[in-house]
């Protein structure tokens, strides 16, 4: 019965990380626009966020596949080295997102398809979103495994 919940946990962590990445990406764009004398109202922010989330289905699927691979690898690693799930899946989430973002630049000859990752700080922030998703996944597993 427990294993039926695992895909559900995967989806929760994907939605969490994917949404955070989209929010950070949007905020980085809007901060730059503010520096160019554009007026960003709260309504404009929320409309933009809604648009980004609704247009981000393909991106959520990429994050889902990333987590799926990262968490399977982590489960195998944990079989040999049974470290705490929260730590293991946090690291898996962090490096999963980091590698996924870096791979896109390799495929597109250096072009960053998620604009927010172009700076080291941005890349770190987006990878931290992966860490948070992984942490929640590990936490949910811990709570449901007796």
């Amino acid at each position: 019965m427990f294993y039926l919940y695992v895909p559900f946990f995967l989806i929760i962590s994907t939605i969490l990380s994917g949404s955070l990445i989209i929010i950070i990406n949007l905020m980085l764009n809007l901060i730059w626009l503010t520096s160019k004398d554009f007026n960003i109202s709260a309504q404009l922010f929320f409309n933009s966020l809604l648009s980004d989330l609704s247009n981000g289905i393909a991106f959520f699927i990429i994050v889902l596949i990333t987590f799926f691979i990262a968490f399977i690898v982590t489960a195998i690693v944990r079989y040999f080295f049974p470290i705490d799930r929260r730590i293991a899946y946090s690291l898996a989430g962090f490096f999963g997102i980091f590698v996924m973002l870096k791979l896109t630049t390799l495929v597109f000859t250096g072009a960053a398809l998620i604009a927010g990752m172009r700076s080291i700080l941005g890349l770190l922030l987006l990878s931290l979103c992966g860490l948070l998703g992984g942490y929640v996944y590990g936490l949910l597993l811990n709570r449901n495994i007796k």
């Binding site: 160019k36 250096g110 072009a111 604009a115």
Partner: protein
């Protein structure tokens, strides 16, 4: 037996009638077009641009770094020697080719290409003399600054103005889009230099603090088409938008065309680049496309071969892949797909002095088509 004969005769009559109808239809169709399209019987490796020589021969640039000459009469292909080494990666490689306005006298051609390594490269423009199928006396006349880590969005189109100064389109390098709004770099700009690479004294940002003197206009993305209406002295440029937002702009010196602060497109991942489409001090396109058509080259038709095209912009598109005629009426701009026989991603279109056209299709086995009357 008699029944079999009857069926045979009936089928034969039907076939003859059908082929007769086809012949009539075909002749009507051909008559309607009044032009011929000749496909050069050689594949080109990622053909990117071309130029008609005064004797009718055609030079074709391949992105991989070769220039091939198509002889006008025989259509024989000869490779030009001593072509500069280029970076053939991503969207980079040997790009545009253009003759100097005084080519008849000085035999000089101008080439744009990406130069350097995959992770540290730039847009470079050289001039060279074309002599006996070889480039000699090569001179670097422009190099975009700073170098980039990506192999995308070079722009690279070239256009000579009335005063023999040269416009160079320089793309935003994909990862450096915000720099298109700054004057201290060449990303996302149209640049103007003299034919020897020096800076004209009337460039709009010359003498402005921290501004690079070659800049003619700013706020561009990846401009792969630039053309001049020589009668009215209007410069048109088109640029690729991201997902949607391809634009045609009328280029004026010192103007800001907005990218990425204002745009009609969104990012490839679906996120908003800017929620704004207009702002004071930033120019509006005269036309934009959502969804994108991938505009890849453009010319302003002033030739004699096709009077019906005179005064129109001819634009090639990669997606879905066609040639478009953009006509200007007093209050509107109309768009029509022409030369529909040419299929696939269309990379480039150029015209001879008389007005015959050469069209290149994209890809490792690209083709060249000569359209004439």
């Amino acid at each position: 037996m008699r029944e079999g004969n009857f069926i045979f005769k009936q089928m034969r009559t039907l076939l003859i009638s059908f082929s007769f109808i086809l012949t009539i239809f075909n002749s009507l169709y051909a008559e309607d077009h009044h032009y011929t399209i000749e496909k050069i019987k050689v594949d080109f490796s990622n053909p990117w641009s071309s130029a008609f020589l005064p004797n009718g021969d055609i030079l074709v640039n391949e992105l991989s770094g070769k220039i091939k000459l198509i002889e006008a009469e025989t259509k024989k292909i000869t490779e030009i020697k001593n072509v500069p080494k280029v970076l053939f990666k991503g969207q980079g490689g040997l790009s545009d080719i253009i003759l100097h306005p005084n080519y008849q006298i000085n035999k000089r051609i101008y080439l744009s290409f990406s130069y350097g390594s995959k992770s540290n490269n730039t847009l470079r423009v050289i001039s060279a003399e074309l002599k006996d199928h070889e480039l000699i006396d090569k001179k670097v006349i422009f190099e975009a600054s700073p170098y980039r880590k990506t192999a995308n969005h070079y722009g690279t189109r070239l256009l000579f103005l009335e005063d023999n100064s040269l416009l160079i389109t320089s793309g935003d390098g994909f990862n450096y889009r915000e720099l298109a709004q700054e004057l201290d770099n060449h990303y996302g700009k149209i640049l103007r230099v003299k034919d020897d690479g020096s800076v004209p004294s009337d460039n709009p940002f010359l003498g402005v603090d921290n501004a690079l003197p070659e800049i003619w206009s700013l706020g561009h993305r990846n401009q792969q088409g630039i053309a001049r209406d020589s009668k009215n002295e209007i410069i048109y440029s088109h640029e690729h938008g991201p997902r949607g937002g391809d634009e045609i702009n009328i280029i004026l010196p010192g103007r800001n065309y907005g990218w990425p602060a204002i745009t009609y497109g969104i990012d490839y991942n679906g996120s908003i680049i800017s929620p704004f489409t207009e702002k004071d001090g930033m120019e509006q396109p005269i036309k934009y496309w959502v969804p994108s058509i991938g505009p890849s080259d453009m010319l302003f038709y002033e030739g004699q071969s096709f009077p019906e095209l005179q005064g129109s912009l001819l634009i090639t598109s990669l997606v879905p892949g066609d040639i478009r005629k953009i006509s200007f009426n007093k209050f509107s701009i109309s768009e029509e797909i022409i030369f529909k026989e040419i299929k696939g991603r269309v990379r480039s279109i150029k015209a001879s002095k008389e007005g015959d056209l050469i069209v290149l299709t994209d890809g490792p086995k690209g083709n060249a088509y000569i359209i004439s009357k």
